[in-house]
Amino acid sequence: MTMDVLYFAWLRERIGLASERVETAAATVRDLVAELAAREERYAAAFADLRAVRVALDQELSGFDASLAGVREVAFFPPMTGG
C-alpha cells in the first residue's frame, strides 16, 4: 500500500524531508519505523529513541502498535510544545 509519511520539527531536520510517499507492506507503525530506519543512517538516527517520537495516523494521535490498515497519512514528530 502507498501512504504519505510526514516529519515535523527535529525529525524533519534530521531526515531532511517534510514528507514523502512510501510504498510499504508494514502492518503496524512499529513495522514501518523499522523499515524506514533500515534505509539510511539519517532515518536510523531520527528513530533511534522512540520514547522521543510521537505518531499520528490520518491526523489522529496514535501509538506504535497501531495497525496501518486503511491509513493514508502517517506523521512522526517530537512531543508537542503548544500553548
Binding site: F77, P79, M80, T81
Partner: protein, 146 residues
C-alpha cells in the same frame, strides 16, 4: 466555538471584546494570553511549526470536550505559527460560562491540553544558536489532573 490557527498577529483586546459580546449573558468570561518570553542570552525569535491538516481539528475536538465537561457557553482558541519576536502574542484561550469556576477550569483544561496535545513545535533562536523547545514532564503531569 472555534479554533483559529494563523500566521498573522492579532489583538488580544479586540478578541476579548468580540468574544465577550458574542457570549452576552454568560456571566463569566476568562481569557489567557500566551506571550513569547525572553530567554538568556536574549531571544532573537521563536519559530512555531505546526501540522496544518491536524492542528485546527485537534483543537476543535479539545474545545468540544471542554464545552461538554464544564458546561461552557462558549470557547475559542487563537494560535499563531511562523516566526515571532520576543513579546509577541502567541496564542489566546477564551472561555465563557454562567459562573467563574467553570470558565476558569475550562480555560485551564484547554491550556493543559494545548501544551502537549496540539501539534505545535517551538524552536528558540537565541544569539547562541537555535534549539527546539523540549516538552516538559510538568506539562504531561498537568493532563493527569483532568
Amino acid at each position: 466555538m472555534s479554533a483559529r490557527v494563523q500566521q498573522e498577529r492579532f489583538d488580544p483586546g479586540a478578541e476579548l471584546a468580540r468574544f465577550t459580546a458574542a457570549v452576552a449573558g454568560a456571566g463569566a468570561v476568562v481569557s489567557f494570553t500566551g506571550v513569547v518570553r525572553d530567554v538568556d542570552p536574549g531571544l532573537v525569535a521563536m519559530e512555531i511549526e505546526h501540522y496544518p491538516a491536524m492542528t485546527a481539528p485537534a483543537i476543535e475536538a479539545m474545545i468540544a470536550r471542554a464545552v461538554a465537561r464544564f458546561g461552557l457557553a462558549g470557547a475559542e482558541v487563537v494560535h499563531r505559527h511562523g516566526r515571532l519576536g520576543p513579546g509577541e502574542v502567541i496564542m489566546m484561550v477564551l472561555t465563557a460560562a454562567p459562573h467563574r469556576q467553570a470558565a476558569f477550569q475550562g480555560a485551564e483544561f484547554l491550556m493543559d491540553w494545548l501544551k502537549s496535545r496540539a501539534p505545535f513545535w517551538k524552536k528558540e533562536i537565541t544569539r547562541d544558536g537555535a534549539a527546539w523547545v523540549a516538552a516538559k514532564d510538568d506539562d504531561e503531569d498537568a493532563l493527569a489532573r483532568w
